[in-house]
Subunit: 201 residues, 2 copies
């Protein structure tokens, strides 16, 4: 028997969050109802605003509520001639925290995956190509995940860079192979930036 | 530097959920933005409705969006002469899942804690007293948590029951001492109901 349909709906809605099973969904709902309804209302509003207003930067494709994100709009960043390519916006966050990098970014929002029908234009490589043509870029740092797909995507972009005589480098595999970039600790990630290697053809 | 103030606000809003640290808050925000904005909007709406519309049952004090909850409004439950006292609404959920109990409930929404200034009226014992006086109840099952405070609260209520010549029983300590009732598995909780003992004075 349903004790409270609204409560049951809330518990099942929490299941959309990564890593939240039936038990923790229930704990979350009871916790907010019993101890912090204001925080629950605040979370509802932030969620609503974020889902509706956060789009993608027209330059680098990261998450932002502006046309152009704060990194792309930064004059000091623009005068840096490096561009770092990552798979997801969360990777930018992780890299920024190392303090090791002060250039621009490009977010693929995925990786090449021919079996799933995900080709170059699905990960924004047409836009990246236009940037390589029009901006003064001397180095593309490939910081895709150290997975088979991430490596293949990095190689594809490196080949693209060679057409424009732009140096392509790959961050060092100091990061554990097979893992996800955003889960790596800052020190390991710093080392992987310092030990990056030029990709030759 | 803040890349997206809206995103930062969302990440920090997720911290209100129990067991959610900075890393998982970040994962939650990125996951919804990247893969499931509809689910994010749905969660926002469910949260909002639940926080605003879920109140407490006038009979048993559990969470419900109605005046009287479905359990208290159930005629078969009303003809049962047992009442089970628990600390939180989540405990009702756990007990209902054992299928071991078919009486009514009373939710304290806490426990006696003189040091924190939480006395009998703060946990609804005036309301419980009125129910003991006016309803035909033959047994009060004390299912408060097996902690020092839960035991003290059970003893206090048992004494109250003796004034009305109502039998008070305590669920067996099959449940691990020091733990929280809602975390106990169904089998252990069933056993603790079957092995309950009368409290004598
Ligand atoms: Zn940007
Ligand atoms: Zn009720």
């Amino acid at each position: 028997m349903q004790i409270s349909p609204l409560l049951e709906s809330l518990i099942s809605a929490f299941r959309c969050l990564p890593g939240v099973g039936p038990k923790s969904a229930q704990r979350m709902a009871y916790h907010l109802l019993q101890r912090n309804r204001q925080a629950g209302l605040h979370l509802a509003q932030e969620l609503n605003e974020a889902m509706i207003n956060i789009g993608h930067c027209k330059e680098c494709r990261t998450f932002t509520e502006q046309e152009i994100c704060n990194i792309c709009a930064n004059v000091r960043r623009q005068s840096n001639d490096q561009i770092c390519v990552v798979e997801s916006p969360a990777d930018i966050f992780a890299i920024e925290q190392t303090g090791q990098y002060s250039g621009r970014y490009f977010v693929l929002l995925g990786h090449l995956s021919p079996l799933d029908g995900i080709g170059p234009s699905d990960i924004g490589l047409d836009l990246l190509k236009r940037r390589l043509e029009s901006e003064s870029i001397s180095e593309v740092i490939l910081a895709t995940n150290p997975t088979i797909e991430g490596d293949a995507t990095a190689n594809y972009i490196a080949q693209m860079c060679s057409e424009f005589n732009i140096v392509a480098t790959r961050i060092a595999h100091g990061v554990p192979v097979g893992g996800e970039l955003e889960m790596v600790d800052g020190t390991t990630l710093s080392h992987s930036f310092i030990g990056r290697q030029k990709i030759d053809f």
